[in-house]
């Protein structure tokens, strides 16, 4: 039986879709069977972030409304052995799907895939209800800003009400030099406020923008810190105990410090 994980945040623009794409690719590259569902009907984006936008024929609404079996609507990502995308419909709205349909779909998929990751739309309305309906785990994405953390708190409350207890937190776009200068909330600040388990921290990284421009996932880039952060998160999802990355020092400075015996 596969896991159905919803990636949500409340606030828009914190990196839900990027997170979904990277976790999906990361899990697939570790030989898991993965299917990603874009639940953001009307504002479809997971396809374009993954570089699969030109291959869409059927979409989520076609599947839930019974127009086609889900397997026919899946797009296979050719770069990975076992990564599939079920794209959202672009011309309909969130009311075209209901939570019961999502529950049925996710249950059906669980027999075929190890991980089904649902990319949730921003907001707390029907799109959110749909996205969480079939999930048995939740990942909340936030950034170190007051607005995003506040919305994350609200989402955590709603998830717990829906029996998605113990959601895991990913802090995205962390800028360590700002934390060091007292200009950004730290990981500990955010964890203390939200009182949830931390799944991982992804540093702010221009390579994320560059990869997304090309429709590629940074998780397979071995020379990027954000890619490393995503790979670590993937291993934690798989149950491994991976220590948090030490991002406070750049590699060079750290080596230098070690060399002169400061640490």
């Amino acid at each position: 039986m596969g896991e159905v994980i919803v990636v949500t945040s409340g606030k828009g623009g914190v990196g839900k879709t990027t997170t979904t794409a990277n976790l999906g690719a990361g899990l697939a590259s570790l030989n898991n069977r993965v299917c990603l569902i874009d639940a953001d009907i009307g504002l479809r984006n997971l396809d374009v972030v993954m570089g699969l936008e030109n291959r869409i024929v059927y979409d989520l609404v076609d599947v839930t409304s019974g127009n086609c079996p889900y397997k026919k609507a899946l797009i296979k990502d050719k770069r990975f052995e076992n990564l599939y995308l079920l794209p959202a419909a672009q011309t309909k709205d969130k009311t075209a799907v209901n939570p019961d349909q999502m529950r049925v779909l996710c249950d059906e998929m669980r027999d075929e895939y190890d991980y089904i990751i649902v990319d949730c739309p921003a907001g707390i309305e029907q799109g959110f209800r749909n996205a969480i309906a079939g999930a048995n785990q939740a990942i909340v994405v936030t950034t170190p800003e007051v607005s995003a953390v506040r919305d994350a708190d609200r989402i955590i409350g709603l998830l717990e009400k829906e029996d998605l207890r113990e959601p895991k937190l990913i802090i995205n776009r962390m800028r360590y030099h700002m934390v060091k200068h007292g200009d950004m909330m730290s990981i500990d600040d955010i964890i203390e406020i939200l009182a949830v388990d931390l799944l991982g921290v992804v540093p702010e990284d221009e390579l994320v923008v560059i990869s997304t421009n090309r429709g590629e996932m940074v998780v397979i880039n071995n020379n990027s810190k954000s890619g490393q952060a995503y790979r670590n998160i993937v291993r934690r999802i798989k149950g491994e105990n991976v220590p948090m990355m030490d991002l406070e020092d750049s590699g060079f400075m750290k080596k230098l410090r070690r060399m002169i015996g400061l640490k």
Partner: protein, 93 residues
């Protein structure tokens, strides 16, 4: 105390990280309790009415909010007093 003075004189030098955390903490106290702004407004009006019987207060500057520490939610009111009402004192004297 220094923090308090800094706040009063508008000289808040604490790093924005701390300010963000504190603001967030307070806003989440309200969010989590689910108190409506109308309720707080109505409480404010009632407070003003009662206190006006005893002292003259700066109604514009009156602040009523919730705070929390160690799982306890507290009602915090900051009520600047302009002057005491002598009339009440003479009446009781």
């Amino acid at each position: 105390m220094l923090d308090f003075l800094n706040k009063i004189f508008g000289r808040d030098n604490s790093p924005s990280r701390t300010v963000a955390k504190e603001r967030l903490r307070l806003v989440l106290v309200h969010d989590r309790v689910g108190v409506s702004p109308q309720l707080l407004q109505s409480l404010k009006t009632d407070l003003i009415q009662v206190i006006n019987n005893y002292m003259e207060i700066d109604e514009e500057a009156l602040e009523v909010s919730l705070d929390s520490s160690e799982n306890q939610v507290a009602l915090v009111a900051n009520i600047p007093v302009r002057k005491m009402k002598r009339k009440f004192q003479t009446e009781t004297a």
